[in-house]
């Protein structure tokens, strides 16, 4: 009984950690630029795929991982420079479509540069499951959960303790005022794309040994990440992380105790259900419309 519960909880936390990181990436870009970036899932794909092909080419794992993060950052910066920046001031729907177009491009290139196969990585600390109170847990699980916790901590410190982080927060809360006090808001937006891309890539390379990866894993991750963001309340980093973990846990428990046929549906049901009760998400605040 307990072992089963523990097993589901760990798998829920693992998936939830990935959703949380995707959602955190969404939130950072949204706060800096008001763009809901549907290419966020593609950064996760890049993280996994570049690491797989890097190690296959003979690079040691840490170097391959670093390469993956750098590739994702470069792609994030290009996306911002070539697709988002030229469309500044367009309506939210147009911006959403542009980021989906961006996702098509990234996926299209990945399909040509890499291939259409499923790929996996060996676990970072071996494959032997650890027995914990009757539940058998892959060592990679701890890498994912631990890695996500470290990233969330670092991002929090970055926003609260560094000058640049505070400039990002200032830009998020009022772009014009931030500009007036001398913050280079264009640079901040580029920075937020780079940061989100890096976070996505790290999530991707950490989780690939468990979930496998291929050129098209990005779409579902982006959809669930977006669901997590909205569940938590758009714009709140803590809400994004909480939303991601809640969705992951709901998925794992419903798959374990009920049925796994509709595993992918759970995230959306929970999200819609929450919105009906709390139209601004769990941690969101209501805002008044100006006439």
């Amino acid at each position: 009984m307990l072992s089963e519960f523990l097993q589901f909880m760990m798998s829920g936390l693992t998936v939830g950690a990935v959703y949380a990181l995707v959602a955190l990436g969404f939130t950072i870009i949204y706060n800096a630029s008001d763009v809901v970036n549907f290419s966020q899932g593609e950064f996760v794909m890049l993280g996994g795929m570049v690491t797989v092909f890097g190690t296959a080419a003979g690079l040691p794992l840490p170097l391959a991982a670093l390469a993956a993060i750098l590739v994702a950052i470069a792609v994030g910066l290009l996306l911002h420079r070539l697709a988002i920046e030229p469309a500044r001031g367009a309506s939210p729907v147009v911006l959403i479509i542009i980021t989906i177009g961006g996702a098509f491009v990234i996926r299209g290139v990945a399909q040509i540069v890499f291939d259409k196969q499923l790929h996996r990585l060996p676990g970072f600390s071996g494959e032997a499951p650890i027995n914990f109170l009757g539940a058998s847990i892959l060592p990679q699980t701890f890498w994912v959960i631990g890695g996500a916790a470290v990233i969330v901590l670092l991002v929090t410190l970055f926003f609260e303790r560094t000058m640049i982080g505070k400039a990002v927060l200032a830009t998020a809360s009022n772009r014009l005022a931030a500009k007036l006090v001398g913050i280079n808001t264009a640079m901040i937006m580029a920075l937020s794309f780079a940061l989100s891309a890096a976070i996505g890539a790290i999530a991707g390379l950490l989780v690939t040994p468990i979930t496998l990866t291929s050129y098209d894993v990005g779409t579902m991750l982006a959809l669930k990440g977006f669901a997590a963001v909205v569940l938590g309340g758009l714009g709140s980093p803590a809400g994004a992380v909480a939303g991601g973990l809640i969705l992951g846990l709901c998925e794992a428990f419903s798959a374990g105790y009920l049925s796994s046929t509709y595993k992918d549906a759970v995230a959306f049901l929970v999200m819609i259900g929450t919105l009906l009760v709390l139209p601004n998400g769990l941690f969101g605040t209501a805002s008044a419309e100006r006439v």
Binding site: T219, D264, A265, I272
Partner: protein
């Protein structure tokens, strides 16, 4: 009677002329098939434009209604012996009911929250269609019984070109008349400012719900036609990518322009057909085109052209 762009018959009339003219000169059934696909997509896009372009409410899940319409004419005739035309009407009626049921709570949401809730609805429909294998054939889809009229099987692309064409003209006429009615003016007020519309006495919730249900019916009928034209249907018709495609067609042609809906559908249906020449690069080029068009024509093709010509959009 003076002819002007404001006249409610000029848009459907011009469209009818263009459809007939093109229908008479297309060279082969391949072209009729592409033409029929354009007209069918345009029907769904006109409905979505009422919601997105006129009422200002986003839906990232409209392919869900396309899926309901498509599977209505696929499942009901095969499993329950319902005649195809009745199945089409039942599908449209069911889509309308679903839209009314989910619209009531969902349409209270705004902006990105509405986008993600409708997105969730579309994904859920696609999941049901994928998982209920006994009824729907699962991810591989199912064969659709052809439409029979007076014992005659309607299966040529030519026939569907004309059926879809006339339906689209009727659909646009209804939409145009709706927009010229008090309801249409209330919708535009809603688009500009919800609070202001409410203060001016518009029943905002009811208005949104009505237009959501109407757009669902358009999408459902388009879905039924799509299934009957292809003779085969898969859950992808209800998927997220198809929803995005529909929204892109609306924005591409021009939000709040009915002719724009047809133009947007035409561009986005014909473009991938042309791109299959570069099959390896299809995804990549489609993405590049979408970005370029959105960056340089962000108001949509038709409004931008009208502006250039010095007319009001």
């Amino acid at each position: 009677m003076r002819l002007s762009w404001d006249n409610r018959w000029i848009v459907p009339g011009l469209l009818l002329l263009v459809i007939v003219a093109i229908g008479l000169i297309l060279p082969s059934s391949y072209y009729y098939r592409v033409g029929a696909l354009v007209l069918i997509s345009a029907l769904a896009v006109v409905g979505l434009n009422l919601l997105l372009g006129y009422a200002g409410q986003v839906s990232l899940g409209h392919a869900g209604f396309v899926g309901i319409g498509a599977y209505a004419v696929a499942v009901l005739p095969v499993h329950f012996n319902v005649p195809t035309p009745v199945a089409l009407l039942l599908g449209a009626f069911f889509s309308c009911l679903v839209a009314l049921a989910i619209g009531r709570p969902i349409l209270r949401l705004r902006g990105h929250f509405l986008a993600v809730a409708t997105l969730g609805f579309g994904v859920l429909v696609a999941m049901v269609l994928t998982n209920e294998i006994r009824w729907t054939g699962g991810p591989d889809g199912m064969t659709v019984k052809r439409l029979e009229i007076l014992g005659e099987r309607i299966r040529t692309p030519q026939a569907w070109y004309w059926i879809a064409g006339f339906t689209l003209v009727i659909g646009i006429t209804i939409a145009q008349n709706l927009l010229n009615s008090p309801t249409g003016r209330a919708l535009r007020a809603l688009h500009d400012s919800e609070v202001a519309a409410r203060v001016a006495g518009v029943d905002v919730a009811r208005m949104k719900l009505t237009v959501f249900a109407i757009s669902a019916v358009y999408a459902s009928v388009a879905g039924s036609y799509l299934a009957l034209l292809n003779g085969h249907i898969t859950p992808d018709s209800a998927g997220f990518l198809h929803s995005v495609e529909l929204v892109t067609m609306v924005v591409l042609g021009g939000m709040g322009s009915l002719i724009g809906s047809v133009v947007g559908a035409a561009v986005l249906v014909i473009l991938p057909q042309a791109l299959t020449l570069f099959h390896e690069y299809e995804h990549l080029m489609l993405g590049v085109f979408i970005i370029l068009i959105m960056v340089f024509l962000r108001d949509g093709i038709v409004p931008t052209l009208l502006q250039r010509l010095g007319r009001k959009p």
